[in-house]
């Protein structure tokens, strides 16, 4: 089983100072770590390999020093690491980032499962994971708290998705992208053998040209996002149960309701 884990290097924010003049994080000289949510994805990938065999490859987009994040992943037990790094990627928003990572994963070749953390703890968008799935045209399940079963022959996977009030059991075909929550496992510490391997590890570095990226889709040029306002959305907690005799009937009721609210055309 080929498992790809998309990870991000972030500043260890517990140690980050704030510039009092600008109210922004002082990133210079701050220790960089693997996004904590991605640690669960790496751990889950290693557990899948331990159960089903295969290979765990971590992929990240970032500056040359992001190789350190890949080294930490190797020390935990990942088999390989790919660093997508090029000045042309500077200024990428989540759309451009997910495109770039998707192109890098395509270059990597065969994969069965792509794992990511539920979101990065610096940007908190939770958009890159689903973005990658979209670019690769594969299904995506968010907030996975347990992988119940993988059927390698039938190429299907059954998972538990965490919800606000309980969980859902979902089944999907492989290949698939899953974003995982911290309830899924407890990440292991770096092993001695892993550390020794990481010491001599050199990541495969891919440039914009290597991944055959369309220049219109990467970096600042490929990033249409404009940050207008940053706020915490209010959750209403309101929910409605749709009754109906058949699935078709229930779906048409849902669609009608969405149309009424002008959420879909």
């Amino acid at each position: 089983m080929n498992i790809v884990v998309s990870i991000k290097q972030v500043p260890g924010t517990t140690k980050v100072a704030i510039n009092p003049a600008t109210n922004t994080l002082i990133r210079a000289g701050v220790e960089a770590i693997i996004n904590p949510f991605d640690m669960y994805a790496i751990e889950e990938a290693i557990r899948l390999r331990e159960k089903f065999g295969g290979k765990v490859t971590c992929i990240t987009m970032g500056p040359p020093q992001a190789e350190e994040a890949l080294k930490s992943a190797i020390a935990m037990g990942a088999d390989d690491g790919i660093l997508i790094s090029d000045r042309a990627f500077a200024g990428s928003d989540t759309l451009a980032t997910s495109y770039t990572l998707a192109m890098g994963i395509k270059k990597f070749g065969q994969f069965d499962i792509i794992l990511t953390g539920k979101q990065a703890m610096d940007g908190d968008t939770a958009q890159v994971g689903p973005g990658i799935a979209q670019w690769l045209n594969i299904p995506f399940i968010a907030w996975v708290k347990k992988i119940e079963d993988v059927k390698e022959d039938a190429k299907t996977i059954r998972v538990e998705r965490m919800m606000d009030d309980g969980y859902e059991v979902l089944e999907g075909p492989l290949p698939i992208l899953l974003s995982v929550v911290k309830e899924i496992n407890e990440p292991r510490t770096e092993s001695l053998r892993g550390k020794m391997k990481a010491k001599n590890f050199k990541a495969t570095v891919l440039s914009a040209k290597d991944i055959e990226a369309d220049p219109d889709f990467i970096g600042l040029r490929g990033s249409p996002t404009i940050v207008n306002r940053v706020f915490v959305p209010v959750r209403s907690g309101k929910k409605e149960l749709v009754e109906g005799a058949t699935v078709e009937e229930k779906v048409s009721k849902v669609v009608a309701s969405l149309r009424e609210s002008k959420l879909v055309n």
């Binding site: 292991r188 510490t189 770096e190 092993s191 550390k195």
Partner: protein, 387 residues
């Protein structure tokens, strides 16, 4: 202090430290209080690569020697020596195999020990044979291709949890120290059972039980080396294992010192931190000096053994390291409780546990009185051989 650790040795320290803080620390109180065996930690210790440091690479270990073992035991013991002991006592049970077994036996047992999959234990002590270990009563009577074992071993660390036991028994009462033999006995062997789990002052996360042999039939292929080699195997095992006990004691002392410094810098009395009082400063200074001296002696001993590839020539130094580190551990942990004052006596703070855990290091694998005998014997022997 710079101990000139190699990059690999430093990695052991970093790995063990990280492991101790992330995996051991959250559960140490619970295991101490309930006297439960930390299997979930042992499993992860194996995954972290901390169980096979002293085992050569060809048997699945990392081949980083006695110093490698000591560095890991020290780091983990800073946080919880009782949990670290699951691995350190496995070392004690493994050395007879590592040092004296046939190639076949090594291939059979060492890889599982190195991976942390199975634990080992060392069965020497009996109710009436403690310091006088050679006065043991357990017998192994030859019966064709088998030996029939009868007797009871007492206070065996890891007993009941371990699956591989190095057990010593009398094969020929008339031959004295040459009448002892050692066997590898697996858990589950008919006629081999365990006594009740002991309720202890310290190292409560470690399991201590009796090994009971009742007409336990062991094939002769399970013997380590040959008949009559038991005493030599036991003595050489202890020479090799004592640095591990010393490392455990050193870790306890160093852990208690760290706790004491942190506490002294926070605790305020008379409007100032107690670290500003000379009475406390001098205690901390003595503790730190003794810990550093203990470390220097231990590392030098471990390095000497690793360089020689054998502990035989360093029996005296091995005893010195065990003696000194454990005496320092008792003293430093007692002072740590003193610095913490009333809080130190309470179980909410970690130093009372460290003090309880320290005491055993002066007792097991040879009491410190026996260590002094060993050191004196070594001194007299080397002086006599110069003439």
């Amino acid at each position: 202090m710079d101990y000139f650790l190699t990059e690999e040795q430093q990695m052991i320290v970093d790995t063990a430290k990280d492991f101790a803080h992330k995996v051991i620390k959250p559960v140490r109180e619970e295991h101490d209080e309930n006297q439960t065996f930390p299997w979930e930690v042992v499993k992860k210790m194996g995954e972290a690569g901390l169980c096979g440091l002293y085992i050569p690479e060809k048997y699945g270990g990392t081949g980083l020697g006695i110093l490698g073992l000591c560095l890991a035991v020290e780091e983990m013991s800073k946080v919880c020596s009782a949990i670290a002991l699951s691995m350190a006592a496995t070392g004690l049970g493994t050395f007879p195999i590592l040092l004296f077994s046939s190639e076949e036996q090594k291939q059979k047992y060492l890889p599982d020990i190195a991976s942390g999959k199975r634990l080992a234990a060392f069965g020497l002590t009996e109710a009436n044979a403690g310091s006088d270990a050679l006065g043991m009563q357990t017998t192994a009577v030859k019966d064709g291709d088998y030996y029939i074992l009868n007797g009871t071993k007492q206070w065996i660390t890891n007993a009941g949890e371990a699956e591989i036991y190095s057990v010593f028994a009398v094969t020929d009462r008339n031959r004295g120290s040459r009448g002892l033999s050692a066997f590898i006995i697996e858990k589950g062997t008919p006629g081999f059972s365990f006594g009740k789990k002991e309720n202890k002052l310290g190292i409560r996360a470690s399991a201590t039980r009796e090994l009971v042999f009742q007409d336990c039939k062991i094939h002769k292929s399970a013997m380590i080396d040959s008949e009559g080699k038991g005493a030599i195997i036991a003595v050489n095992t202890l020479y090799t294992s004592r640095p591990g006990v010393a490392a455990q004691a050193l870790g306890i002392a160093a852990g208690a010192l760290d706790e004491s410094i942190n506490y002294a810098r926070q605790r305020k009395q008379f409007g100032q931190t107690i670290s500003s009082f000379q009475a406390v400063q001098h205690m901390l200074a003595n503790m730190a000096t003794e810990v550093e001296a203990a470390r220097a002696l231990l590392y030098a001993t471990a390095r000497s053994i690793d360089k020689a590839g054998d502990a035989k020539g360093f029996a005296k130094e091995s005893a010195m390291a065990k003696l000194y580190c454990s005496d320092v551990a008792m003293k430093v942990t007692t002072d740590a409780v003193q610095i913490f004052g009333g809080y130190g006596y309470m179980k909410e703070y970690p130093v009372e546990k460290m003090m309880r855990d320290a005491k055993i290091t002066q007792i097991y694998e040879g009491t410190n009185q026996i260590q002094r005998n060993e050191i004196a014997a070594g001194l007299i022997k080397s002086a006599a051989s110069k003439k």
